[in-house]
Amino acid sequence: MTKMVRQRLLGAAALTVALATGAVAQDKVVNVYNWSDYVDESVLQEFTKETGIKVVYDVFDNQDIVETKMLAGGSGYDVVVVTGPFLARQIAAGVYQPLDKSKLPNLSNMWPEVTSRVAEYDPGNQYGVDYMWGTTGIGYNVEKIKAIMPDAPVNSWDMVFKPEIVSKFKDCGVQFLDASEELIPAALKYLGKNPDSKNAADMEEAGKLLASVKPYVQKFHSSEYINALANGDICLAVGYSGDILQARNRAAEAKNGVTIQYVIPKEGANMWFDIMAIPKDAPNPDAAHAFINFMMKPDVIAKSSNYVAYANGNLASQKFIDPAILSDVSIYPDQETLANLFSTTPYDAKAQRVLTRVWTSVKTGM
């Protein structure tokens, strides 16, 4: 079953569970809203076993939908996982409640390096706790790329942003994330500009670069590339690190002769943080704190990292993480790579309109 259908069904199932458990005492449920394919589900069962709180787990693959739900209010979620710039804007809109840190003793396990970077979005770390973090880079099918272009510059954005190179891979399939806030900064970085630029002329120039390679891009989509890479339907994708690594694992499990590799391009890539926060109108704030505290237990978050192949912001968890993951520089980058990673800040309404307009014109030629 394809991902989106599965998600809808999951969502429907979660809703049914939510309705069915409506009668249970209030504090015994926590409603969690997280990215799809982003947790080891046994962790959720452990949480219920330990605390007696039932987890109603709902998923998304598009943060814009999350933000719309949050801004409309009354979402009914207790814990929401959102990415940095989105969190910053939603905090400004008054969506979240400050964390009660006395209920979060496991905060001592967190990784100061990550916490301080998260503070750029959430000054003083008042509202959120990092769940996972990762990068946005390039995933490719090793055999197919090698067959088409033995000397392909796989460790560079040249792979996807240089028309004469990416055009070679058109027939075997290229997909980009349908996320303007990822592709425009990456293109800006490639052009040697500030990736966080909110300047309209800069964004338009990045748009021009993207438009020049658009003819070779089969689709802009934010989750389809996982299965497409794993099945060998496409051979090149710009995507989230962990998603591409999941594609790698799925291909390995299926033994279909497909080998997927993820690289952080040498020019630099976006480093993003997914952060757990509690909406102001959360029905069960105590359960929400208990859940966040539980997810900061070193062995618990390590289990999830081992499963989804994303790095987390928990320093104490690193001794429980599979050495193969911990030593993988595409997941836990070395200092040199880390220095090359950039982060982006929220777009205000005017810059957002330019960004979306540039993105629409990249995709439709309009």
Binding site: T2, M4, V5, R8, N62, D64, I65, E67, T68, M70, L71, A72, G73, R89, A92, A93, G94, V95, G173, D178, S180, K214, V217, Q218, K219, F220, D233, A349, Q352, R353, T356, R357, W359, T360, S361, K363, T364, G365, M366
Partner: protein, 302 residues
Amino acid sequence: MAERRTRDVKPFLGKWALVAVPYLWSLLFFLAPFLIIFKISLSETAIAMPPYTPVIAGVSDLWTKLSDFTFDNYVFLTEDPLYYSAYLSSLRIALVSTVLLLIVGYPIAYGMARAPKSLRNALVMAVILPFWTSFLIRVYAWIGILKPEGLLTIALQGLGILGPNEQVHIYNTEIAVFIGIVYSYLPFMVLPLYAALEKLDATLLEAAADLGCPPTKSFWVITFPLSLPGVIAGCFLCFIPIVGEFVIPDLLGGSETLMIGKTLWAEFFNNRDWPVSSAVAVVLLIILVVPIVIFQNQQKKA
């Protein structure tokens, strides 16, 4: 006197109660939401919950904040050719799809109406049956058929029409959107056509044949004009939702398939600009409602 009055009032009330139900329904589920959307379309975006301003708290509040309302969002729609092109492209896709649906649907409905009576119910069932599977899953099935490594490529390669290294490149194009739309909306075209054709008096055609009218001519002179109400109902039932279609172009179309549903999505979700997206929706409604009203008025005159 008193007795007579009650006798007069009662059936009068009963009639009104009956008529009031659909009006109340429209008021509650069409007019009220429309007014809310129209109101938002006159607002401005803000970083807040909800993300626009002004927010009206009550009727008295409405008058004090009236001056904050603005038609800027409608002006904005005329300034960027994107919206104009998206509306036009949606109307074009809907028009082409509706014509295709009519061409495909008419023979099916005709065949059903001409089938032996005992078979007809089974045939109607067959048309409705696909609805038992989720719409989303059926559209996904088309991805499996149309994608380059999909069933269509395999079938055509098997038949020797395509070479072993050739593939069908329909998925992510506008052709795939047309296939998806025609497939999904076919029952909405077939059923009204069937209802109209089934009522057709067969003796008229016999009479025409007796008087020497060839079958093709009697089709165009008798059958088609008499089925016209079904044709119109089917076309409206398909055309209107297709204009605003989002799911099919999103799943089967390429990135360059421009439709107003996708533009609306981008305004609402990517830009979080509820006012502009509401303005897009209001304009879309006007584009659809005005021709229908004109058409109905002309029907009444005729």
